[in-house]
Symmetry: C2
Subunit: 130 residues, 2 copies
């Protein structure tokens, strides 16, 4: 006799084979790669999001971060940041909340995020002085 | 009488109107952008080049850096690094020499490159321990 794991019958109406879309996938700390983090930070809009979150020092509603792009582009940028391990996103009611994964990033790449934020500040100051 | 600078007559055979392809274009310090630097560093092969150059602490012949890619892909990666302002490249005879633009990067983004190099070292150590 061959034993196979029990699975509910697929009725279509009641079984949801995929996880709830309200739980967003994140890499574990061990899965975060430096190249993906740098790629996520290499875009001006995503860098803006990261600077806003660093300044907020708390969980923020994604929709409260004003960005110079469409809603769908904004969603894309948040997804790149989340999938690279730079931010954490979760639903609270209808609001999608987000924050930086400071502990994970500091443990994996000490000093990296602060140096990128400082570099971004320096660049903004230079741009403003022109 | 109007004085104009003397120029050799264009004979086609002896005049070269475009700059020599042996002088490679580089951004000035002021033209270097954080986003472009992060993008350049976000690729595993380019990050490997940067780590090799940092370890060498001197000008290096590009062809002496062994990379797990074809010659043309390697040339592409060196160009991305040069055009973003991460490295400087120049010809010495037939050799294409390269080095990190440490002074420019340190002036523009203090601590950024060291923190990326440290992060890459940490990641390599973790990968090796697996």
């Amino acid at each position: 006799m061959i034993l196979v794991p029990w699975r509910p019958r697929r009725t279509g109406a009641t079984v949801t084979p995929t996880p709830s879309p309200r739980v967003l996938p994140h890499p574990t700390r061990e899965e975060i790669r430096l190249e993906a983090v740098l790629h996520a930070l290499a875009d001006p809009v995503r860098l803006l999001v990261v600077r806003r979150l660093a300044a907020a020092e708390a969980e923020v509603n994604c929709s409260s971060i004003e960005l110079p792009v469409s809603k769908s582009t904004s969603t894309h940028h948040f997804r790149v940041l989340r999938e690279s391990g730079v931010i954490r996103q979760c639903y609270q009611g209808t609001a999608k909340m987000t924050c930086l994964r400071l502990d994970d990033l500091d443990d994996l790449f000490p000093g990296l995020l602060p140096s990128v934020l400082t570099a971004a500040d320096h660049q903004s100051a230079r741009d403003a002085a022109r």
